[in-house]
Symmetry: C2
Subunit: 242 residues, 2 copies
DNA sequence: GAACTCGGTAAACACCGTTCACTGAGGCCG
DNA sequence: CGGCCTCAGTGAACGGTGTTTACCGAGTTC
């Protein structure tokens, strides 16, 4: 079964140990506590040995980011799959709430991945692509926008949005879903982008405690924001009204 | 003229030196470079001497945050004062753009004040109150919302919003402007809050490079967002249309 | 002028990331 | 099997960090 040599197995095992330990330190005691010596101590080796696995502490943190992104991706995807495939509002609420809950429960990890100045994450927005991009596209694919967003996008944004449109269509296609440009139109792309701005904005403000006043019930505010975002998409399935 | 003793003058001067040096290190070489020894070296004293001025490095950073908030407050206020007092859209654009430009030009300071997990800023959202709160309230005071926002706020948010309403009214009053509850109604409060979410969200995403794809013209996107926020307030002064 | 305050110092402690020469077990090949 | 090579892991060291301690000496007060 195991093709790997003894050495390779041991190495893989140690690497898992290192990542798990580093992750635990990050979660339990903050980013400053993720120390090479502390990790080594917990794993049962010495600090210089870690350099057989990572180029530097910064490199280790970068890989930790990848792990975190992967986990978050899986958690959100699982949440999405748990919803009825035709109930888009339920999907949006489920994924949005889960993201918020995760961020609040793991502030250090959130800060590391979503609010670090040093470009720890490989490429611009790459990690995010894996997480939300396909979810958003999948949502639209599963339930196309019933009407085009009235206002059209300004010329200065069109090129960017069109590029993003192709990325999203391609991403969704890799998951086996075909979606047309007319369905995932530029207005929809822009709205998805703005939704991310609001989602991220609320969560980050809450995690960092930077709301301008004490919000005693942030969950209600968050839910209302999600509902508003859905409403602007005319996705709320309100039956015809006068 | 100077009532202070020689010692007091020297102490105040040294303290200014320390803060200025720390600030320079933060701006030019990042938060990690703000080292007690580096500060001391530049000021011309030794590291332990800094403990005569601050309890710890963390304490020093907290006071640095205060300085930054104060400077930002002054910069934004100046920007506001430079606008025609009756042109609310111009004021919003000016202040919003200035905040974004500042954040992009001073990422370390932005991260320290607006995206640090440790509660470096004194009380929840206190610093922010000084900066944006009064500006937002001032904007509304200078040009009341022409129509009440149609949707009313949910019950679960009403208490929080009402508290915030009073804080804003009080804050503006201290600046000599009287504003009524009917003008700064709960719908307006909620919209201000949501505007902050979007403003902060966009700026933070841009500073941290966490947009889901490369935005080649973020300024245009930002301006559009501001315009949209204004439009939702019916503040764009569009003359009557068919 | 004595007593006191207090900013500044040097030395030390425990920690940090990182480098380096070295060891010794694992794996490969004749 | 023996010899060689690879490489995870080591201990010592370097220069850096925040922080504590005992001490000095100028500034201030009485």
């Amino acid at each position: 079964m195991t093709e790997a040599t003894r050495r390779e197995r041991l190495r893989a095992e140690t690497e898992r140990d290192i990542r798990r330990t580093a992750r635990a330190l990050l979660v339990e005691r903050g980013a400053d506590a993720v120390t090479l010596r502390a990790i080594a101590r917990a794993v049962g080796i010495t600090a210089p040995a870690l350099y057989r696995y990572y180029d530097s502490r910064e490199d280790l943190l970068a890989r930790l980011c990848d792990d975190i992104c992967g986990d978050l991706d899986r958690a959100l995807s699982a949440e999405l799959d748990a919803q009825a495939s035709d109930d888009v509002p339920a999907q949006v609420f489920a994924v949005g709430r889960r993201f918020r809950k995760w961020a609040l429960a793991h502030p250090s990890e959130f800060a590391l991945v979503f609010a670090s100045t040093d470009g720890r994450v490989k490429e611009e927005g790459d990690q995010f692509g894996k997480i939300f991009l396909q979810l958003a596209a999948g949502l639209v694919a599963a339930h196309p926008f019933p009407k085009p967003v009235p206002e059209d996008v300004p010329e200065s944004l069109e090129a960017d949005l069109r590029a993003f449109q192709h990325v999203m269509i391609e991403t969704v296609r890799e998951r086996g879903v075909e979606i047309d440009e007319d369905v995932l139109h530029l207005g929809a792309i822009y709205h998805i982008l703005q939704s991310w701005v609001r989602l991220y904005g609320h969560v980050a403000l809450e995690v960092f405690g930077r709301f301008p006043f004490v919000v005693s019930n942030p969950e209600a505010m968050f839910d209302r924001m999600l509902g508003q975002m859905l409403g602007e998409l005319s996705l709320t399935h309100r039956p015809d009204r006068p």
